[in-house]
Amino acid sequence: MDALKLTQVWVEYGSKIVLERVNLAVSPGSFVSIVGPSGAGKTTLLRLLLGQEAPTRGKAMLFGEKLRDEPGPDRGVVFQRYSIFPHMNVRENVLFGLECKGSPVFGHLGGKKRRAALDEVDAMLASVGLKDARKLYPAQLSGGMQQRVAIAQALIMKPKVLLLDEPFGALDPGVRADMHVLITDIWRTNGLTIFMVTHDIKEAFALGTRVIALDKARHDAQAPNRYGATIVYDVKLDRKANAVPPPEIEAMAAGA
């Protein structure tokens, strides 16, 4: 069964066509990098996978079921910014998902349940390297640490799919390299299917097992919104062996 199957998907806002004729089948455990110039519908595709956007036409299936048109715990997400709650400390941020699951009415766990949940949270925080930052608030954390919290927060729900929206775009190069190691590790150990939108072509090829490039295949200069973007390149990679972007994709990104 495919983790994700898009069949002739179109996304339109009124008369503006953002995505057209998108066909995609992704097998479970893939790490799909999504690249493309600005305005080519990368974020729209991610919003579609999140359930924030429903396809105007076509079919979107997630693990054989119709994609729900609401975000849910089966799909975790990490955004570039605003991924964690500023009024909760690191531990509370990661605990939040477990509290929602365990207590539909109050959203609070107490006593033995809370202790068990906190053990799980602490183990998760240790695995992303945040053991000593448990009591800190987001405003006290560096950008890289904030993204680690966001990843831990998503992973604790054990999602089947992890969606990353330019997660490392705002980080320093050194921190970014650390995060690449972390996310690769997490992807391998949890058997996740990951979709990552990125501007960084090198990152896309270094991390992905598959790179998808979105762009407008047709263009009307008089009516720029008449045609939407679609998948123009779909490169399957043997990870690590083939981590260099082909020149035509480099050229496209350079024009972005």
Binding site: L50, Q52, E70, P71, G72, P73, R75, G76, V77, F79, R81, Y82, S83, I84, F85, P86, H87, M88, N89, F96, G97, E99, C100, K101, P104, V105, F106, G107, Y137, P138, A139, Q140, A150, Q153, A154, M157, P159
Partner: protein, 273 residues
């Protein structure tokens, strides 16, 4: 020569600059008062400092013969009670309405326009209606303050809740949160610091409505007293009362700011002022 916008006073200079306008005001007053009294020793418009001392003694230190209480204390108690009840209820109503309107588009469609319409009606114009419907007692005065401040507070809090980044609401949903979870665990705590700031901004209008209500129909209260002694041109009482009201307002504002800072540390990270 440095640019004026780069000249930042510190320490003693800062203190001196802050105090200077007060001293200047006091000096101008004393000079004007003396000039008037030189022409007319029984002038009531700009009383002398001795006259103030006498009036303050009568109002704030002596027990009033008729009422059997100290008038300033009685008035202050009555006014602060009205203000406190009105602002407390306003905060509660604002919190509920602001959260719901900010978070639920369907409710916003239903109630948004009418809140805006009510906010446009001048509250003082509603005062006669309140007196007719609720009588001349405490209820009408408290209701006036509430009607005066709630629409603005609700609109502000609604806007604040709507400005919570969409990413956070999406993230919460991917963590399995339902609407109630998002309301109580995300939107509510993120609204509380703003609610206190909104309250601080509405303190000014709240005092205006309080004084107006007390001036028109009351038998006790700071606003009542000012408008009562106005008939006798008692500037020696009016001016200290005005200073006292301003002092109360400033103290209230300061206390609320302190509460905000100490209770919601996450919203005020160090260095980010």
């Amino acid at each position: 020569m440095r640019r004026l916008l780069n000249v930042k006073p510190r320490g003693g200079v800062l203190l001196f600059l802050s105090v200077l306008p007060f001293l200047a005001l006091a000096l101008v007053y004393v000079m004007a008062s003396e000039a008037r009294h030189a022409i007319n020793p029984s002038d009531k418009i700009l009383p002398t400092l001795e006259a103030f001392a006498r009036a303050i003694n009568i109002m704030a230190l002596q027990v009033d013969q008729q009422r059997g209480e100290i008038l300033l204390w009685m008035d202050t108690q009555a006014s602060l009670f009205r203000l406190g009840v009105a602002l407390g209820l306003s905060m509660l109503i604002t919190l509920v309405l602001g959260l719901l309107l900010g978070l639920l588009p369907a409710l916003r469609a239903l109630a948004g326009p009418i809140v805006t319409a009510i906010a446009m009606a001048p509250p003082i114009a509603l005062l006669p209606i309140l007196f007719i419907l609720l009588g001349l007692g405490e209820t009408a005065k408290i209701a006036l303050i509430m009607i005066g401040v709630i629409p603005c507070m609700v609109r502000d809090l609604t806007a604040h809740v709507r400005s919570i980044p969409e990413e956070l609401l999406i993230k919460a949903q991917t963590l399995g949160a339902n609407t109630w979870h998002i309301l109580t665990r995300i939107a509510l705590p993120q609204s509380l610091p703003r609610l206190i700031d909104i309250l601080r901004l509405q303190l000014g209008p709240a005092w205006v409505f309080l004084i107006a209500a007390e001036a028109i129909a009351s038998d006790v209260g700071l606003g009542y007293r000012i408008f009562l002694v106005r008939r006798y041109l008692s500037m020696d009482i009016i001016l200290p009362y005005v200073v006292w009201i301003a002092l109360l307002a400033v103290t209230l504002d300061f206390l609320l700011a302190q509460v905000n800072r100490s209770a919601f540390g996450w919203a005020h990270p160090k260095g980010a002022r």
